[in-house]
């Protein structure tokens, strides 16, 4: 290797060590020493790598520390007593630094690597490398799963049973998060909301700015809680309206699709079927979602009952037919 003296200038005053050299040295030093080191001790050990002026030294060290933390190095601080009273010292707990306790067999590592290919994320690739895997090959079958900055923090809090705080619709929320659910392409966090003192579901992409973990506040997740059943997958059933059945006639080839969607049991046998027309009994508790579903079927469907529901659809369509100005309140 190149002689290390190459990296220092003749006077030895200004730092000319490359940032990578300095940061890896700092990391190795903190990993090696069992006791915490003050900045004074660090700059003495790594002399010639850090600038000598107090302000420049502090600035360079803070940048390095932030960078190490950014890549995941757990640097702990402690305030010293005794003759160094008040001074801050820094240490890295090797047990916390190292990835341990995760003995994956080769087939498990490969399976995880293939899995990362099916969602393709940069953080996933970094994780695969740490586990000893190689380059993640792209896949022909995959799911585009939204990657949101709040998700890793939420999962960490869920894993450690810690309370989180965040802003949502301009209000501060405090939540014991039970789990994350991806449904119909959106991420939801479900948990106990302190402010409302009840279970709540929040869309993660609508959380304003950052999620903070309150590490001091822990909770016990309820037993028997099922994430998948936290709320219905069908938006038509996602409301507080009384549960009702709509009679919907579907025309032409679209009937086959609707039968697949609702299941064969949804065909309303009380109405005589014809080759061109099938009537379905469609449960709903959310009339807006029902209307949206119905109109998404375009001209190939019509609600035939109950009469008040049909009348409400007619009123909606008349409002649209009257044009945008008339539709305004």
């Amino acid at each position: 290797m190149a002689p290390p003296t190459d990296s220092r200038d003749a006077a030895g005053t200004a730092s000319v060590a490359s940032p990578i050299e300095r940061i890896t040295s700092l990391l190795a030093l903190l990993l090696e020493r069992r006791t915490a080191l003050t900045l004074r001790q660090i700059s003495h050990e790594l002399r010639d790598m850090y600038p000598t002026g107090a302000v420049a030294l502090r600035g360079a060290f803070e940048r390095d520390k932030a960078l190490l933390r950014d890549v995941g190095v757990p640097i702990e601080t402690e305030v010293l007593g005794g003759d160094q009273a008040g001074e801050t010292a820094y240490r890295i707990d090797r047990a916390r630094y190292e990835l341990s306790g995760l003995q994956l067999d080769d087939d498990e590592r490969r399976a995880l690597q293939v899995a990362v290919a099916a969602t393709r994320s940069d953080a996933g690739q970094e994780g695969v490398w740490k586990l000893g895997g190689s380059v993640v090959q792209a896949s022909s079958v995959m799911a585009n799963v939204p990657q949101l900055p709040a998700l890793p923090t939420l999962r960490q809090a869920i894993g450690a049973h810690q309370t989180v705080t965040f802003m949502y619709h301009d209000a501060a929320r405090r939540l014991d998060p039970y789990g994350l659910l991806l449904r119909r392409g959106f991420w939801y966090v479900i948990g106990h909301d302190h402010g409302h003192d009840q279970r709540r579901t929040y869309r993660v992409d609508r959380i304003d700015d950052e999620v903070q973990i309150d590490t001091a506040a822990t909770f016990l997740p309820p037993s028997g809680f099922s994430l998948a059943d936290a709320f219905p997958a069908d938006p038509k059933l996602l409301g507080d309206d009384d549960g009702r059945l709509a009679q919907v006639a579907v025309y032409g080839d679209l009937a086959a699709l609707v039968r697949r969607e609702l299941g064969p049991g949804a065909v309303d046998m009380s109405v005589p079927a014809s080759a061109d027309r099938t009537v379905f009994a469609v449960p709903f508790t959310n009339v807006n979602a029902f209307r949206s579903w119905l109109l998404g079927l375009g001209t190939h469907a019509e609600v035939i009952g109950p009469p008040d529901l049909r009348a409400s659809i007619v009123r909606w369509l008349q409002g649209v037919a009257a044009g945008p100005t008339a539709a305004k309140p």
Binding site: S25, G127, G132, N144, A228, L257, T299
Partner: protein, 316 residues
Amino acid sequence: MNVRRGPRPLNVRLRRLLVMLPWLMERGGATLAEMAERFQISQKDLITDLEQAAMCGLPPFVDEFIDLYIDDGVVTVGVPRFFTRPLRLTAPEGFALLMAGRAALALPGADTGGPLARALDKLEAVLGDDAMVLDLAQPPATADLAIAVQQRTTMAITYWSASSGDASERIISPRAVFADRGRWYVVAHDSRTDQERTFRIDRVTDWKPTGDLAQQRDDQLLAPTGDAWFDELDDLPVVTLLLRPAGRWVVERYPVRSVTTDANDTIAHLAIASETWLRDLLLQLGPDAQVVEPPAWRDLAARSARELLAERYSPE
């Protein structure tokens, strides 16, 4: 994961170093070519980073932390002292691995009792309860289409087209299957039009493997990420919509070309698959949306509502 141009950010370099060093230490050495390939880095950058890391040490520089040298395209390490174990997983990495694993278990054809499930159990033991469910509910044809992609066989499908309102039969050669915003799609060569196109799998009403091999292609078609697949459809008409707050879900649900929001209203430029699709969307939105451009569609919603009323809701 592209090789970037311009100066590489320090955190990227450091992160990569901290995964490369333990790997190298464990093996005792590797060729530059192998490392560059494995860790997706140019050989030039690799040499720079390894050499700079190798300089780290405590004065008077006899006590090197990393005993490493590069000679003739080969990296060799001496007795390893530091960086022998990889750094713990960061929160984003832990999340990405668990999420990928859960997603893969929900994909068509997943082996729920195999090595992936075991790997996830082990990850969970290290990272804490995972409590993550990915509901990637698939239309019934998805699994068979995914198999056809893997086996490069063709499928006979019946596909319902919203614009014609009819179902039609066609032979397709599926090349990629993907989920986006809660819907599943198959990219396939369509024998009817002799073109590659993207089909919504929930509109496939019937499907049957033909038993024939698809025309041999050397290239694997990768499933598109993000909005890439939609952006490529640049011959689609674009509509400018003014959305009231209650209609904002459109920009969350569908890929948009651009969005601007003022105090209340949102202006969205949306590529649309067909006039029929836009018509059905406008009927759902009702008073919560207005077409700004093109002028020809400004009265599309009102016209369509009148047609639907006349066709389906006129008094007997």
